[in-house]
Protein backbone atom coordinates (compact mmCIF):
# COMPACT_ATOMS: atom_id res chain seq x y z
CA UNK A 1 0.00 0.00 0.00
CA UNK A 2 1.29 3.42 -0.93
CA UNK A 3 0.56 5.57 2.05
CA UNK A 4 2.15 8.74 0.78
CA UNK A 5 3.22 10.31 -2.48
CA UNK A 6 6.59 11.11 -1.02
CA UNK A 7 9.20 8.83 -2.53
CA UNK A 8 11.23 7.23 0.23
CA UNK A 9 14.78 8.47 0.38
CA UNK A 10 14.06 11.86 -1.13
CA UNK A 11 13.45 13.44 2.26
CA UNK A 12 10.51 15.51 3.40
CA UNK A 13 8.57 17.77 1.07
CA UNK A 14 8.31 21.19 2.68
CA UNK A 15 5.24 23.13 1.56
CA UNK A 16 6.33 26.58 2.71
CA UNK A 17 4.35 28.49 0.10
CA UNK A 18 1.19 28.06 2.16
CA UNK A 19 -0.07 27.93 5.72
CA UNK A 20 -1.02 24.89 7.77
CA UNK A 21 -3.77 22.64 6.44
CA UNK A 22 -7.35 23.38 7.37
CA UNK A 23 -9.35 20.45 8.76
CA UNK A 24 -10.96 20.05 5.38
CA UNK A 25 -7.62 20.08 3.58
CA UNK A 26 -6.26 17.59 6.08
CA UNK A 27 -9.22 15.28 5.42
CA UNK A 28 -8.55 15.60 1.69
CA UNK A 29 -4.85 14.95 2.19
CA UNK A 30 -5.56 11.71 4.05
CA UNK A 31 -8.18 10.68 1.48
CA UNK A 32 -5.50 10.99 -1.20
CA UNK A 33 -3.38 8.34 0.57
CA UNK A 34 -6.12 5.76 0.83
CA UNK A 35 -5.64 3.29 -2.02
CA UNK A 36 -8.48 2.38 -4.34
CA UNK A 37 -10.31 -0.72 -3.26
CA UNK A 38 -9.40 -0.38 0.43
CA UNK A 39 -11.59 -1.36 3.34
CA UNK A 40 -11.52 1.57 5.72
CA UNK A 41 -12.85 2.54 9.13
CA UNK A 42 -13.12 6.24 9.81
CA UNK A 43 -13.21 7.03 13.51
CA UNK A 44 -15.86 9.14 15.15
CA UNK A 45 -15.34 12.90 14.88
CA UNK A 46 -13.06 14.60 12.36
CA UNK A 47 -11.96 11.42 10.53
CA UNK A 48 -15.58 11.01 9.40
CA UNK A 49 -15.00 14.00 7.11
CA UNK A 50 -12.47 12.04 5.05
CA UNK A 51 -15.38 10.19 3.44
CA UNK A 52 -16.40 13.37 1.61
CA UNK A 53 -13.03 13.40 -0.16
CA UNK A 54 -12.83 9.77 -1.28
CA UNK A 55 -13.22 9.46 -5.06
CA UNK A 56 -16.58 7.77 -5.68
CA UNK A 57 -15.09 5.52 -8.34
CA UNK A 58 -12.19 4.27 -6.17
CA UNK A 59 -14.23 1.40 -4.76
CA UNK A 60 -13.29 2.21 -1.18
CA UNK A 61 -15.57 0.38 1.23
CA UNK A 62 -16.34 1.90 4.62
CA UNK A 63 -16.66 -0.25 7.71
CA UNK A 64 -18.58 0.88 10.74
CA UNK A 65 -17.85 -1.18 13.82
CA UNK A 66 -21.46 -1.34 14.91
CA UNK A 67 -21.87 -3.93 12.19
CA UNK A 68 -21.69 -2.90 8.55
CA UNK A 69 -19.52 -2.77 5.47
CA UNK A 70 -20.56 -0.55 2.59
CA UNK A 71 -21.70 2.40 4.65
CA UNK A 72 -22.88 5.37 2.62
CA UNK A 73 -23.11 9.08 3.45
CA UNK A 74 -25.16 10.51 6.31
CA UNK A 75 -28.90 10.02 5.87
CA UNK A 76 -31.01 13.08 5.15
CA UNK A 77 -34.76 13.56 5.31
CA UNK A 78 -36.71 10.41 4.57
CA UNK A 79 -33.54 8.34 4.42
CA UNK A 80 -33.22 8.54 8.20
CA UNK A 81 -33.82 5.08 9.68
CA UNK A 82 -33.36 4.48 13.42
CA UNK A 83 -32.03 1.00 12.59
CA UNK A 84 -29.18 2.33 10.43
CA UNK A 85 -26.54 4.42 12.12
CA UNK A 86 -22.77 4.67 12.20
CA UNK A 87 -20.54 4.16 15.23
CA UNK A 88 -21.21 7.76 16.24
CA UNK A 89 -24.94 6.92 16.26
CA UNK A 90 -25.51 9.29 13.33
CA UNK A 91 -28.07 8.03 10.79
CA UNK A 92 -26.33 6.89 7.62
CA UNK A 93 -27.19 5.17 4.37
CA UNK A 94 -26.37 1.85 2.75
CA UNK A 95 -24.47 1.46 -0.53
CA UNK A 96 -24.94 -1.42 -3.01
CA UNK A 97 -22.81 -4.37 -1.98
CA UNK A 98 -23.23 -3.65 1.73
CA UNK A 99 -23.25 -6.37 4.36
CA UNK A 100 -24.52 -6.41 7.95
CA UNK A 101 -23.06 -8.50 10.78
CA UNK A 102 -23.19 -8.61 14.54
CA UNK A 103 -20.79 -6.98 16.97
CA UNK A 104 -18.61 -10.03 17.63
CA UNK A 105 -18.17 -10.59 13.90
CA UNK A 106 -17.52 -6.90 13.31
CA UNK A 107 -14.78 -6.68 15.90
CA UNK A 108 -13.36 -10.04 14.82
CA UNK A 109 -12.99 -8.46 11.38
CA UNK A 110 -11.20 -5.53 12.93
CA UNK A 111 -9.02 -7.40 15.42
CA UNK A 112 -8.12 -10.01 12.82
CA UNK A 113 -6.37 -7.44 10.66
CA UNK A 114 -8.81 -7.44 7.76
CA UNK A 115 -9.31 -3.70 7.53
CA UNK A 116 -6.70 -2.01 5.36
CA UNK A 117 -6.86 1.34 7.07
CA UNK A 118 -8.43 3.04 10.01
CA UNK A 119 -8.16 6.71 10.78
CA UNK A 120 -8.44 7.88 14.37
CA UNK A 121 -8.29 11.15 16.20
CA UNK A 122 -5.73 11.45 19.01
CA UNK A 123 -4.85 13.38 22.13
CA UNK A 124 -1.23 12.32 21.78
CA UNK A 125 0.99 10.07 19.66
CA UNK A 126 4.45 9.06 20.85
CA UNK A 127 7.50 8.98 18.62
CA UNK A 128 7.28 5.16 18.67
CA UNK A 129 3.66 5.21 17.58
CA UNK A 130 1.92 4.77 20.93
CA UNK A 131 -1.58 6.21 20.79
CA UNK A 132 -3.56 8.05 23.47
CA UNK A 133 -7.06 8.99 22.38
CA UNK A 134 -9.58 7.68 24.88
CA UNK A 135 -9.05 9.33 28.23
CA UNK A 136 -7.66 12.63 29.35
CA UNK A 137 -6.44 11.11 32.60
CA UNK A 138 -8.53 13.64 34.47
CA UNK A 139 -9.36 11.84 37.76
CA UNK A 140 -12.89 13.25 37.60
CA UNK A 141 -13.54 11.98 34.06
CA UNK A 142 -15.75 8.94 33.59
CA UNK A 143 -13.70 6.45 31.60
CA UNK A 144 -15.21 5.44 28.24
CA UNK A 145 -13.30 3.60 25.57
CA UNK A 146 -15.80 2.39 22.96
CA UNK A 147 -14.04 0.74 20.05
CA UNK A 148 -10.88 2.87 20.19
CA UNK A 149 -8.59 0.15 21.57
CA UNK A 150 -9.96 -2.45 19.18
CA UNK A 151 -9.35 -0.16 16.21
CA UNK A 152 -5.87 0.79 17.38
CA UNK A 153 -4.84 -2.86 17.53
CA UNK A 154 -6.70 -4.22 14.55
CA UNK A 155 -6.33 -2.31 11.31
CA UNK A 156 -3.32 -3.02 9.09
CA UNK A 157 -2.57 0.71 8.95
CA UNK A 158 -3.63 2.98 11.75
CA UNK A 159 -3.56 6.59 10.62
CA UNK A 160 -3.99 9.44 13.03
CA UNK A 161 -5.69 12.69 12.09
CA UNK A 162 -5.06 15.49 14.57
CA UNK A 163 -3.84 19.00 15.08
CA UNK A 164 -0.12 18.98 15.84
CA UNK A 165 -0.52 21.32 18.81
CA UNK A 166 -3.14 21.82 21.47
CA UNK A 167 -4.85 25.18 21.83
CA UNK A 168 -2.21 25.99 24.43
CA UNK A 169 0.54 25.26 21.92
CA UNK A 170 1.67 22.00 23.51
CA UNK A 171 2.80 19.39 20.97
CA UNK A 172 0.63 16.31 20.59
CA UNK A 173 3.45 14.34 18.94
CA UNK A 174 5.48 13.54 22.02
CA UNK A 175 8.39 11.45 23.31
CA UNK A 176 6.01 9.54 25.56
CA UNK A 177 2.27 9.90 26.00
CA UNK A 178 1.26 11.45 29.30
CA UNK A 179 -2.39 10.53 28.76
CA UNK A 180 -3.49 6.92 29.33
CA UNK A 181 -2.64 4.76 26.33
CA UNK A 182 -5.09 3.36 23.81
CA UNK A 183 -2.49 1.11 22.20
CA UNK A 184 1.26 0.71 21.96
CA UNK A 185 3.37 1.13 18.80
CA UNK A 186 0.23 0.97 16.71
CA UNK A 187 0.24 4.19 14.69
CA UNK A 188 1.65 4.05 11.14
CA UNK A 189 1.29 7.67 10.12
CA UNK A 190 0.26 10.89 11.80
CA UNK A 191 -1.48 13.46 9.63
CA UNK A 192 -1.55 16.93 11.11
CA UNK A 193 -2.17 20.49 10.03
CA UNK A 194 1.59 21.16 10.07
CA UNK A 195 2.88 17.98 8.51
CA UNK A 196 2.78 14.24 8.01
CA UNK A 197 4.87 12.05 10.28
CA UNK A 198 5.85 8.40 10.40
CA UNK A 199 6.59 7.29 13.97
CA UNK A 200 8.61 4.17 14.43
CA UNK A 201 11.06 2.26 16.60
CA UNK A 202 13.90 4.61 15.59
CA UNK A 203 11.96 7.83 15.95
CA UNK A 204 9.86 10.04 13.74
CA UNK A 205 10.36 10.50 10.03
CA UNK A 206 8.87 13.69 8.55
CA UNK A 207 7.18 13.08 5.21
CA UNK A 208 5.73 16.51 4.50
CA UNK A 209 5.35 19.87 6.14
CA UNK A 210 2.70 22.53 5.59
CA UNK A 211 3.42 26.18 6.27
CA UNK A 212 6.57 25.26 8.15
CA UNK A 213 9.87 23.46 7.77
CA UNK A 214 11.46 20.47 9.44
CA UNK A 215 13.93 22.81 11.06
CA UNK A 216 11.19 24.92 12.62
CA UNK A 217 9.28 21.82 13.74
CA UNK A 218 12.45 20.57 15.46
CA UNK A 219 12.33 23.68 17.62
CA UNK A 220 8.69 23.21 18.62
CA UNK A 221 8.61 19.43 19.11
CA UNK A 222 10.44 17.49 21.79
CA UNK A 223 10.81 14.39 19.67
CA UNK A 224 13.74 13.38 17.50
CA UNK A 225 12.88 14.04 13.88
CA UNK A 226 15.02 11.69 11.82
CA UNK A 227 17.18 13.34 9.20
Amino acid sequence: MTTTNTTPGTGPVEHTDRGPLTTDELAARIARDIPAGSYVNLGIGQPTRIAEHLPPDAGIVLHTENGMLGMGPAAVGDEVDPDLTNAGKVPVTELPGAAYFHHADSFAMMRGGHLDVCVLGAFQVSHHGDLANWHTGDPDAIPAVGGAMDLAVGARQVLVMMKLFTRDGAPKLVPACTYPLTGTACVSLVYTDHGVFAPGPDGVRVLETYGTTVARLRERLFVDLLP
Binding site: I44, Y100, H103, R111, I142, D150, T182
Partner: protein
Protein backbone atom coordinates in the same frame (compact mmCIF):
# COMPACT_ATOMS: atom_id res chain seq x y z
CA UNK B 1 -36.38 -25.89 24.73
CA UNK B 2 -38.49 -24.08 22.17
CA UNK B 3 -39.51 -20.47 22.62
CA UNK B 4 -42.67 -19.40 24.35
CA UNK B 5 -44.62 -16.39 23.17
CA UNK B 6 -45.49 -14.01 25.96
CA UNK B 7 -48.66 -11.95 25.74
CA UNK B 8 -47.03 -8.91 27.29
CA UNK B 9 -43.58 -7.58 28.01
CA UNK B 10 -44.36 -7.98 31.72
CA UNK B 11 -44.94 -11.68 31.21
CA UNK B 12 -41.78 -11.86 29.13
CA UNK B 13 -39.54 -10.54 31.93
CA UNK B 14 -41.27 -12.38 34.78
CA UNK B 15 -39.02 -14.09 37.28
CA UNK B 16 -35.86 -12.03 36.89
CA UNK B 17 -34.21 -12.19 40.28
CA UNK B 18 -32.45 -9.57 42.38
CA UNK B 19 -28.73 -9.64 41.75
CA UNK B 20 -29.05 -10.98 38.20
CA UNK B 21 -26.64 -10.14 35.41
CA UNK B 22 -28.74 -8.73 32.60
CA UNK B 23 -27.35 -8.37 29.08
CA UNK B 24 -29.12 -5.53 27.29
CA UNK B 25 -28.84 -5.29 23.51
CA UNK B 26 -28.73 -2.20 21.37
CA UNK B 27 -26.31 0.44 20.26
CA UNK B 28 -27.82 3.85 20.76
CA UNK B 29 -31.48 3.45 19.88
CA UNK B 30 -30.87 0.76 17.27
CA UNK B 31 -31.75 -2.63 18.69
CA UNK B 32 -32.56 -1.28 22.15
CA UNK B 33 -35.26 -3.42 23.81
CA UNK B 34 -37.24 -0.52 25.28
CA UNK B 35 -40.40 -2.51 26.06
CA UNK B 36 -38.44 -5.13 27.97
CA UNK B 37 -36.48 -2.56 29.95
CA UNK B 38 -39.69 -0.75 30.88
CA UNK B 39 -41.18 -4.06 31.94
CA UNK B 40 -38.07 -4.87 33.96
CA UNK B 41 -38.50 -1.59 35.82
CA UNK B 42 -42.09 -2.54 36.65
CA UNK B 43 -41.00 -6.07 37.54
CA UNK B 44 -38.78 -4.63 40.23
CA UNK B 45 -35.61 -6.77 40.26
CA UNK B 46 -32.78 -4.84 41.87
CA UNK B 47 -29.04 -5.06 42.58
CA UNK B 48 -28.63 -5.86 38.88
CA UNK B 49 -25.41 -5.99 36.91
CA UNK B 50 -26.20 -4.57 33.49
CA UNK B 51 -24.02 -5.42 30.51
CA UNK B 52 -24.60 -3.15 27.53
CA UNK B 53 -22.59 -0.98 25.19
CA UNK B 54 -23.62 2.25 26.91
CA UNK B 55 -25.07 3.27 30.24
CA UNK B 56 -28.26 4.90 29.09
CA UNK B 57 -29.34 8.10 27.40
CA UNK B 58 -31.66 10.80 28.62
CA UNK B 59 -34.37 9.53 30.97
CA UNK B 60 -35.51 6.46 29.03
CA UNK B 61 -34.51 2.84 28.72
CA UNK B 62 -31.38 1.94 30.67
CA UNK B 63 -31.22 5.43 32.12
CA UNK B 64 -34.69 4.93 33.61
CA UNK B 65 -33.63 1.57 35.05
CA UNK B 66 -30.58 3.24 36.58
CA UNK B 67 -32.65 6.13 37.88
CA UNK B 68 -35.00 3.67 39.57
CA UNK B 69 -32.00 2.50 41.60
CA UNK B 70 -32.02 -1.05 40.34
CA UNK B 71 -28.48 -1.26 39.03
CA UNK B 72 -25.48 -2.07 41.18
CA UNK B 73 -22.92 -2.30 38.40
CA UNK B 74 -22.61 -1.44 34.74
CA UNK B 75 -20.25 -3.33 32.41
CA UNK B 76 -20.00 -1.38 29.17
CA UNK B 77 -17.61 0.16 26.67
CA UNK B 78 -18.85 3.72 26.63
CA UNK B 79 -20.83 5.10 29.57
CA UNK B 80 -20.05 8.76 28.93
CA UNK B 81 -22.38 10.40 26.44
CA UNK B 82 -23.75 13.85 25.95
CA UNK B 83 -26.99 12.82 27.66
CA UNK B 84 -25.82 10.13 30.08
CA UNK B 85 -26.47 12.37 33.07
CA UNK B 86 -28.33 9.72 35.05
CA UNK B 87 -25.39 7.34 35.03
CA UNK B 88 -22.89 10.16 35.49
CA UNK B 89 -24.59 11.27 38.69
CA UNK B 90 -24.88 7.77 40.13
CA UNK B 91 -21.27 7.02 39.28
CA UNK B 92 -19.94 10.23 40.79
CA UNK B 93 -22.04 9.63 43.89
CA UNK B 94 -20.44 6.18 44.19
CA UNK B 95 -23.83 4.51 43.78
CA UNK B 96 -23.01 2.56 40.61
CA UNK B 97 -19.93 0.49 39.92
CA UNK B 98 -18.41 0.63 36.46
CA UNK B 99 -16.31 -1.83 34.49
CA UNK B 100 -15.17 -0.36 31.20
CA UNK B 101 -14.39 -2.98 28.54
CA UNK B 102 -13.23 -2.29 24.97
CA UNK B 103 -16.23 -2.67 22.69
CA UNK B 104 -14.93 -5.64 20.74
CA UNK B 105 -13.67 -7.37 23.85
CA UNK B 106 -17.11 -6.87 25.40
CA UNK B 107 -18.67 -8.64 22.43
CA UNK B 108 -16.00 -11.35 22.38
CA UNK B 109 -16.32 -12.05 26.10
CA UNK B 110 -20.03 -12.64 25.64
CA UNK B 111 -19.35 -14.77 22.58
CA UNK B 112 -16.95 -16.83 24.69
CA UNK B 113 -19.67 -17.35 27.31
CA UNK B 114 -22.04 -18.54 24.62
CA UNK B 115 -19.45 -20.67 22.83
CA UNK B 116 -18.09 -22.55 25.84
CA UNK B 117 -14.66 -20.91 25.66
CA UNK B 118 -13.11 -20.69 29.12
CA UNK B 119 -10.94 -17.66 28.44
CA UNK B 120 -9.01 -16.11 25.56
CA UNK B 121 -5.90 -14.10 24.89
CA UNK B 122 -6.71 -10.81 23.22
CA UNK B 123 -4.26 -8.15 22.00
CA UNK B 124 -6.72 -5.32 22.63
CA UNK B 125 -5.89 -3.18 25.64
CA UNK B 126 -2.42 -4.62 26.24
CA UNK B 127 -0.16 -1.95 27.67
CA UNK B 128 -3.10 0.25 28.62
CA UNK B 129 -4.79 0.95 31.96
CA UNK B 130 -7.61 -1.46 31.03
CA UNK B 131 -5.16 -4.37 31.22
CA UNK B 132 -4.12 -3.54 34.77
CA UNK B 133 -4.43 -6.53 37.06
CA UNK B 134 -5.02 -8.88 34.15
CA UNK B 135 -2.77 -11.73 33.10
CA UNK B 136 -0.67 -10.83 30.06
CA UNK B 137 1.14 -13.30 27.80
CA UNK B 138 3.32 -12.68 24.80
CA UNK B 139 2.14 -14.70 21.81
CA UNK B 140 3.94 -14.37 18.47
CA UNK B 141 5.85 -11.38 19.79
CA UNK B 142 2.73 -9.52 20.75
CA UNK B 143 1.31 -8.89 24.21
CA UNK B 144 -2.10 -10.43 24.80
CA UNK B 145 -4.46 -9.92 27.73
CA UNK B 146 -6.33 -12.90 29.19
CA UNK B 147 -10.05 -12.19 29.07
CA UNK B 148 -12.83 -14.21 30.71
CA UNK B 149 -16.39 -14.80 29.53
CA UNK B 150 -19.28 -12.57 30.52
CA UNK B 151 -22.35 -14.70 31.05
CA UNK B 152 -25.80 -13.32 31.65
CA UNK B 153 -28.62 -14.72 33.71
CA UNK B 154 -30.93 -12.94 31.33
CA UNK B 155 -30.54 -11.25 27.96
CA UNK B 156 -33.02 -8.65 26.81
CA UNK B 157 -32.72 -8.05 23.09
CA UNK B 158 -34.67 -6.58 20.22
CA UNK B 159 -34.94 -8.18 16.79
CA UNK B 160 -36.89 -7.46 13.66
CA UNK B 161 -38.86 -10.64 13.10
CA UNK B 162 -39.26 -14.02 14.74
CA UNK B 163 -40.97 -17.20 13.74
CA UNK B 164 -42.85 -19.17 16.37
CA UNK B 165 -39.79 -21.37 16.96
CA UNK B 166 -37.81 -18.33 18.01
CA UNK B 167 -35.64 -18.00 14.90
CA UNK B 168 -34.70 -14.34 14.61
CA UNK B 169 -33.71 -11.92 11.90
CA UNK B 170 -32.59 -8.37 12.53
CA UNK B 171 -32.69 -5.14 10.56
CA UNK B 172 -29.55 -3.25 9.44
CA UNK B 173 -27.23 -2.05 12.21
CA UNK B 174 -29.89 -2.85 14.83
CA UNK B 175 -28.40 -6.34 14.69
CA UNK B 176 -25.37 -5.21 16.75
CA UNK B 177 -25.19 -7.03 20.12
CA UNK B 178 -28.43 -9.04 19.86
CA UNK B 179 -27.07 -12.22 18.23
CA UNK B 180 -24.12 -12.39 20.62
CA UNK B 181 -26.12 -11.75 23.77
CA UNK B 182 -28.67 -14.35 22.69
CA UNK B 183 -25.95 -16.99 22.98
CA UNK B 184 -24.62 -15.78 26.31
CA UNK B 185 -27.51 -15.82 28.77
CA UNK B 186 -29.43 -18.53 30.57
CA UNK B 187 -32.76 -16.96 29.67
CA UNK B 188 -33.08 -14.97 26.46
CA UNK B 189 -36.02 -12.66 25.93
CA UNK B 190 -36.55 -10.99 22.56
CA UNK B 191 -38.96 -8.25 21.63
CA UNK B 192 -39.75 -8.32 17.93
CA UNK B 193 -41.81 -6.27 15.52
CA UNK B 194 -43.41 -9.31 14.05
CA UNK B 195 -43.96 -13.01 14.81
CA UNK B 196 -44.58 -15.15 11.74
CA UNK B 197 -45.52 -18.83 11.39
CA UNK B 198 -42.75 -21.39 11.17
CA UNK B 199 -41.49 -21.72 7.61
CA UNK B 200 -41.79 -18.04 6.78
CA UNK B 201 -38.16 -17.21 7.53
CA UNK B 202 -35.71 -18.55 4.96
CA UNK B 203 -33.40 -20.98 6.84
CA UNK B 204 -30.41 -19.47 5.02
CA UNK B 205 -31.10 -16.04 6.51
CA UNK B 206 -31.74 -16.90 10.15
CA UNK B 207 -29.29 -14.91 12.27
CA UNK B 208 -30.24 -16.20 15.73
CA UNK B 209 -31.51 -19.78 15.63
CA UNK B 210 -34.45 -20.48 17.91
CA UNK B 211 -32.35 -22.68 20.16
CA UNK B 212 -31.03 -19.50 21.76
CA UNK B 213 -34.38 -17.84 22.37
CA UNK B 214 -36.58 -18.61 25.36
CA UNK B 215 -39.29 -15.97 25.26
CA UNK B 216 -40.71 -13.78 22.54
CA UNK B 217 -42.98 -10.77 22.76
CA UNK B 218 -44.32 -8.40 20.14
CA UNK B 219 -42.91 -4.92 20.56
CA UNK B 220 -45.23 -2.01 21.07
CA UNK B 221 -45.31 0.47 18.22
CA UNK B 222 -42.96 3.24 19.23
CA UNK B 223 -41.80 6.32 17.42
CA UNK B 224 -38.09 6.65 18.00
CA UNK B 225 -36.39 9.96 17.59
CA UNK B 226 -32.97 9.54 16.10
CA UNK B 227 -30.31 11.55 17.82
CA UNK B 228 -26.75 12.09 16.77
CA UNK B 229 -25.54 11.62 20.34
CA UNK B 230 -22.64 9.27 20.67
Amino acid sequence: MTATIAATADEAVAGIEDGSTVLVGGFGLAGMPFDLIDALIRQGASELTVVSNNAGNGDVGLAALLKAGRVRKVICSFPRQSDSYVFDELYRAGRAELEVVPQGTLAERMRAAGAGIGAFYCPVGAGTPLAEGKEVREIDGRAHVLEYPIKGDVALISAHRADTMGNLVYRKTARNFGPVMATAATTVVAQVTDIVPVGQIDPETVVTPGIYVDRLVRAEARRLTVQGAR
